[in-house]
């Protein structure tokens, strides 16, 4: 599965568009991780546990998007974007979406 944030894949030709695919995940902060983060939040600095949480959420969203694209028999997703929203205090949504396409090697 090739995933890009641009409209085309250089060296490849888009054979067929399979439509929009998306994956979303809502992650809540861990209360026990939050304790250390709360301390860090008063003195400043990076919240490593949250960075980890965010990268996990992003991975999960992309994974779900890829699963959907596989069902459509696509072999690439182009124009991928991320959108986020904070639903309630202490939880964040990461939403990944893109266009599933079937590509083949361009001749010549």
């Amino acid at each position: 599965m090739i995933i890009t944030t641009i409209e085309t894949i250089p060296g490849m030709r888009v054979k067929e568009h399979c439509g929009i695919v998306s994956g979303s995940t809502v992650r809540a902060k861990n209360m026990f991780l939050d304790f250390g983060a709360g301390l860090k939040n008063t003195i400043g600095g990076e919240l490593k546990s949250y960075t980890h949480l965010l990268s996990e959420a992003r991975e999960e969203a992309v994974k779900r998007m890829i699963e959907q694209a596989r069902k459509l028999r696509a072999n690439a997703i182009v124009n991928v974007r991320f959108a986020t929203s904070s639903i309630t205090a202490g939880a964040a949504e990461v939403y990944a979406y893109g266009t599933a396409v079937e590509v083949e090697k361009a001749e010549g």
């Binding site: 894949i9 250089p10 060296g11 400043g44 600095g45 965010l54 986020t84 964040a92």
Partner: protein
């Protein structure tokens, strides 16, 4: 009286720790940015990017960073918010988060020749608490397409 002393010491401590952490972080960011100059090149907003060269590998790369402000920043911003103007203490928090996320993304793709169409997405994690003067937590996702050319 005792309350006032506690608050002032608390503010002083958070001011010192916050300043120390921020200074160190900026130093590290600058070092890493210098190390990453031209390796790989990043370009923003090239939606229809194409190339004549043969491509070996193309994939999406991402970088995340969550940076929190300190209590002193929130306190001073709370006062400043009444009068308007730049909340410069918050600006540096967001600036650090953005640059850190970009650096992390680039560090994941050091073998790539170019990262095209880089975008930044931000989340304010404790949005609901803004009114209570709780320090900001700024979460940034940076993402783009890393392209590696075939050796010719």
């Amino acid at each position: 009286m005792l309350d006032l002393i506690i608050i002032i010491t608390f503010l002083a401590i958070t001011y010192l720790t916050g300043r120390y952490i921020e200074k160190n972080h900026y130093k590290k960011i600058k070092q890493r940015e210098i190390a990453l100059i031209r390796k790989p090149i990043i370009s923003f907003g090239a939606k229809r990017w194409t190339t004549e060269r043969k491509i070996k590998d193309i994939k999406m790369v991402t970088g995340e960073a969550v940076i929190a402000g300190d209590y002193f920043k929130a306190f001073t911003a709370g006062i400043k918010q009444k009068f308007g103007g730049n909340l410069s203490t918050y600006e540096s928090v967001i600036d650090r988060a953005r640059r850190e996320a970009l650096i992390r993304m680039r560090e994941k793709a050091t073998k790539a020749d170019i990262i095209v169409n880089v975008r930044l997405e931000s989340i304010l994690l404790n949005q609901a608490y803004i009114q209570y003067n709780i320090p900001p937590q700024c979460a940034i996702i940076a993402y783009g397409t890393a392209v590696t050319y075939e050796n010719e």
